[in-house]
């Protein structure tokens, strides 16, 4: 216990006053010459002992009254088992929510501005020699690299911080801060979390994680007091561009691309005629004044744009709606690598007499992949296909390709397999068709690591006459990007092609992991038709039948061309590390191995630049940059290379500005034993209690009143109570 007005404790000495009065009265007694002594003596004899006890009780109460009064006036504070903190310096960790929802404003003031100002005041108000650390939850990083006693440097750095980042992950932030707090030196510690209490930041699914993070804090050597500071002024009105869909998996020069923007109105007010604009590489599309969409309250809509890219390389598409306070989600960016050519290496296991001989295993496929080239038409194909026999495949031509297609290849030597392994691991696409030459033992053996599924036997009859085929591709709804085209009958169907023979793939062994093989399509016999497997950073798709018309009639069907093209484009699209990232996702770029050891220059969304080393990994130079907390456009430039755009978009869940109710916040705090404040005054009051303890003069007042009345009642009771006579 501590006392805010310790001088008043001297008043405890007043407990001697009743004692002195008692002794004084006892010594200054009256003398009465008494006649009826026989009446009095009997009473004294029987009551003397009890009266003495009662007198002691009354005397004790009378002594306690001034003592309690003095204690009360000394403003006692209860600190529990805590150390006497008083004015000792503290170690403070502030978790500042700078997610983009904090940009919501009322009366022109952003929630984040309030939170930042409060943080500045909080840090500025810390006791001298205190240690502070500010963690920016939206960015998932510390304001400074480590905690510091130089509080002015913290407040200075705070001035440069803004909101507009990704979602604030409270459990992760608390976990991070627990590690930092552990390294701080003060034993009076506090964690202050300033947030807008957006409902999505505290989902029920995070409840357990939050509990675990707080538990970790409690287990620290010096557990901190955790305070939730509600700085959120709820403002539901917000329109967000949620996502963009492209009609093509890969965009080629001169190809028409449809861009569909999904827009959601989170507010309770309808937004008629909301203007949506498309910008490509920072410029509004010439000749379009943008589109308009009408959105009812709490509903979503779509806007469709079309665009033709006239240059290969990295392009940026921006879809922007009319401004509202939460700017981060008014804009959705997409980085589009526009390809001039996509290189596909066709490895023919049963080549024809000439390279363009349709009797060869890859004849139909080559035409399907480069129809304009094959048809001698003055238009450019996206895909440039080249054919090599099985023995012609080598590390060089494999590495230079975007997709490698193995067609009825009996077997490859170890070097070829090694080259393919590396190729796929680094993100290359491998498309494998079986056939009569396929060696099941080689497939299941040396090729087994790459093969999505093992071959179990042969299905159907390769010699069956047309019209008597044993199977067809089962008509089904496809979920795979390369096949979903066939969900629309106008694009043709796979189900009208006959499959005379096929290799039966063994049922996949499920491990539950992300690398489990997936059956993309089946034959109506139930055997897999197309199976896919992720391998390293690349993918392998295997088809149970032939690429040519030996075992099936697919090449003669209209669906053959889109099937082969889309499978290749799908697999090729994976060759490049993703350029459209989520906040916090690592930015990766593959560069030629010659660039390894140099440095790439990365321009961040705020136009500042950082140098990122190019590291040699396998046959490539790789750039990795994990600090992508800030949504926006990142530009990567390597000396002598092309500019590559990367886009980081924040999770749009943050756009829902719906705030937790006060009751929910209280319940959350109660569940986890936290404190909630809404203003600086409340925080100061709480801090005072936590620092100095809780003022407990009220219980003392109660005790005092009880003693006062108790003395009165006891005195009456002792005097009037029934006596033994």
């Amino acid at each position: 216990m501590n006392f805010l007005n310790a001088a008043m404790l001297a008043g405890v000495a007043a407990l001697s006053i009743p004692l002195i009065i008692h002794l004084f009265h006892k010594s200054r007694f009256k003398i009465v010459k008494w006649g009826a002594m026989h009446l009095l003596a009997a009473v004294i004899r029987t009551n003397q002992k009890r009266i003495k006890i009662e007198q002691w009780i009354l005397l004790a109460i009378r002594c306690a009254i001034p003592a309690i009064l003095a204690l009360m006036m000394a403003k006692p504070v209860w600190q529990g088992a805590k150390q006497m903190l008083g004015d000792q310096p503290t170690s403070t960790a502030v978790l500042l929510d700078n997610s983009y929802s904090m940009e919501a404003e009322r009366a022109g003031t952003k929630n984040f501005t309030i939170a930042r100002d409060e943080t500045e005041r909080l840090i500025g108000g810390l006791k001298p020699n205190s240690e502070a650390y500010v963690f920016l939850m939206g960015e998932g990083r510390g304001l400074l690299d480590q905690s510091t006693r130089d509080l002015s440097s913290v407040t200075q750095a705070l001035g440069k911080v803004g909101a507009g980042y990704g979602m604030a992950r409270v459990p992760a932030a608390l976990d991070f801060v627990a590690g930092t707090l552990d390294k701080m030196t003060g034993n009076a510690r506090q964690v202050v979390l300033l947030t807008d209490f957006q409902r999505v930041s505290f989902p029920a699914s995070d409840e357990k994680l939050l509990g675990q993070a707080l538990e970790r804090l409690k287990k620290l050597k010096f557990p901190p007091n955790v305070t939730l500071w509600d700085v959120g002024v709820e403002s539901k009105e917000n329109v967000a561009v949620e996502s963009l869909d492209f009609s093509k998996l890969m965009v080629g020069v001169g190809q028409k691309v449809q861009i569909r923007a999904n827009i959601r109105n989170y507010g309770d007010t309808a937004r008629p005629d909301l203007r949506v604009t498309l910008k490509v590489d920072g410029f509004e599309k010439p000749g379009t004044a943008g589109s308009q969409v009408s959105l009812a309250a709490r509903s979503s809509g779509q806007v469709l744009f079309t665009h033709v890219f006239d240059k290969p390389g990295s392009h940026v598409v921006e879809i922007e709606t009319e401004a509202d306070p939460v700017k981060a989600d008014n804009l959705f960016l997409a980085s589009i690598p526009v390809r001039d050519k996509l290189t596909v290496l066709l490895v023919d296991g049963a080549p024809g007499a000439t390279p363009d001989d349709l009797k060869g295993e890859t004849g139909f496929a080559q035409i399907a992949l480069s129809p304009f080239f094959s048809g001698k038409v003055e238009q450019s194909d996206l895909i440039k296909a080249s054919v090599v026999p099985a023995e012609g495949a080598n590390a060089k031509n494999i590495a230079e390709s975007n997709v490698v297609v193995l067609a009825n290849v009996a077997k490859l030597n170890d070097e070829q397999i090694k080259a393919l392994d590396l190729f796929v691991k680094q993100g290359g696409g491998l498309l494998v068709f079986t056939g009569d030459r396929t060696d099941a033992a080689w497939w299941n053996g040396p090729f087994g690591k790459l093969a999505p599924l093992q071959i179990g036997g042969l299905g159907g009859d390769p010699n069956a006459k047309p019209g008597t085929a044993a199977a067809k591709v089962a008509a089904q709804r496809f979920g795979h990007p390369s096949l979903e085209l066939f969900n629309d009958p106008r694009n043709g169907t796979l189900a009208d092609a006959e499959v005379k023979a096929w290799h039966k793939f063994k049922a996949p062994e499920r491990t539950g992991g992300p690398d489990d093989p997936t059956v993309l399509a089946r034959l109506d016999s139930g055997d897999p038709f197309l199976v896919e497997k992720t391998y390293g950073e690349g993918r392998v798709i295997a088809c149970s039948t032939t690429l040519d018309s030996d075992w099936n009639s697919l090449p003669a069907r209209p669906s053959y061309l889109p099937l082969v093209q889309r499978l290749c484009v799908y697999l090729a699209s994976n060759v490049y590390p993703p350029r459209n990232l989520q906040v916090g996702e690592q930015l990766v770029s593959f560069l030629p191995s010659a660039t390894a050891g140099k440095k790439a220059i990365l321009t961040l969304p705020d136009t500042s630049t950082v140098e990122v080393p190019i590291v040699k990994k396998g046959e490539r130079g790789v750039v990795e940059y994990p600090q992508t907390q800030r949504p926006g456009l990142y530009k990567l430039q390597v000396a002598g290379g092309d500019l590559v755009h990367y886009v980081v978009n924040a999770d749009r869940a943050e756009s829902d500005l719906n705030k937790m109710t006060d009751a929910e916040i209280k319940a959350l705090a109660k569940t986890h034993g936290l404190q909630v404040v809404h203003s600086e005054a409340e925080f100061k009051a709480l801090d005072k209690v936590q620092r100095y303890g809780r003022e407990i003069w009220k219980p003392f007042l109660l005790i005092l009143l009880v003693l006062l009345f108790g003395e009165l009642i006891l005195q009456q009771m002792f005097a009037r109570g029934r006596r033994k006579v």
């Binding site: 009256k30 009465v32 008494w34 009095l40 009473v43 004294i44 009551n47 002792f718 006579v725």
Partner: protein, 301 residues
């Protein structure tokens, strides 16, 4: 009808130094307006019969004589005085108490004035009156007479006596019984402090000797209410060295209960022996005593 003494408190009357003057003021005040009885014969000793004449009270007719002779006769008594009364006055230490509300009048002062008034009234009604004073033993015995000069003797004794010493009512009263040869009215003026059983035993002894008894129990208001506050040392008036230092407020209730018990026992005991117990408080007028006496005298007629 109101009389002068009703308007005079014992404190006022204290200013009258002469007991005789005081007695006259009180008694004459009390008796003013009373019809003097034309009849003799309220004594306890029978003397003769006489013929009934008109005006005699019918209740004094001797019906046994009428039964025998068919004539009306009235019983008359032998004594020249109507009543032989002996005032037994307690002058023990406890009677020397003067309370906070009594204006300096001790219980003994009150008792002596009461005795003087009674004596005065008795003598002036031609009743014989005697006086016994005692503490732990009999200090003075004046036998009953009805002469006015005898009154002087009693009043002198009352003025002369000082209270002190212990009381032992039982022993004293037992000693007194043989001295009172003829039965009569005994008026005991005392606070009756002591063992109730002893006191009642002595009363029984008196009653055995066929005495009529009236006890005027003298209280001080303090003894009835115990109003003391603050630390007080109670020094015993009867025994030197007996003292108790205490906070009286703590004991008041117990004391009052003990007092009630004591008075209850006394009242019951007296009722049992057909003794009139008349409690007095020293702030009450003396006329109450005289009224009690008169009631008693008439009750005997």
């Amino acid at each position: 009808m109101a009389h002068v003494s009703d308007f005079l408190t014992p404190t006022d009357l204290q200013r009258i130094s002469s007991l005789q003057v005081l007695a006259r003021v009180v008694v004459e005040g009390f008796t003013t307006g009373l019809h003097r009885s034309p009849h003799k014969g309220y004594s306890v000793e029978f003397k003769q019969h006489r013929q009934y004449v008109a005006g005699d009270e019918i209740r004094h007719i001797d019906w046994r004589v009428f039964g025998r002779s068919d004539r009306y006769y009235i019983r008359e008594y032998e004594e020249e005085t109507n009543l032989r009364s002996t005032i037994i006055l307690d002058r023990s230490g406890s009677m020397n108490y003067s309370g906070t509300k009594s204006g300096g009048v001790t219980k003994y002062d009150y008792a002596t004035r009461l005795a003087a008034c009674l004596s005065y009234m008795m003598v002036h009604q031609a009743d014989g009156v005697g006086l016994v004073t005692f503490d732990d033993k009999i200090r003075r015995y004046i036998p009953p007479r009805s002469k006015v000069s005898h009154l002087r003797l009693i009043i002198d004794e009352l003025e002369k006596g000082k209270p002190g010493g212990e009381t032992d009512l039982g022993d004293v009263f037992h000693d007194l019984v043989p001295k009172l040869h003829r039965r009569g009215l005994l008026i005991i003026i005392s606070d009756c402090f002591g063992e109730v059983a002893n006191f009642l035993k002595a009363m029984a002894h008196f009653r055995h000797a066929r005495h009529e008894i009236v006890v005027f129990q003298i209280w001080d208001r303090d003894e009835l209410e115990f109003p003391f506050r603050g630390w007080t040392q109670f020094d015993c008036l009867e025994q030197d060295g007996v003292k108790h230092l205490l906070d009286p407020a703590m004991l008041r209730q117990a004391y009052l209960e003990n007092l009630a018990k004591f008075r209850d026992e006394l009242v019951k005991g007296c009722r049992k022996h057909h003794i009139d117990l008349v409690p007095f408080c020293t702030d009450e007028p003396y006329s109450k005593a005289l009224a009690a006496y008169m009631t008693r005298r008439l009750g005997r007629a």
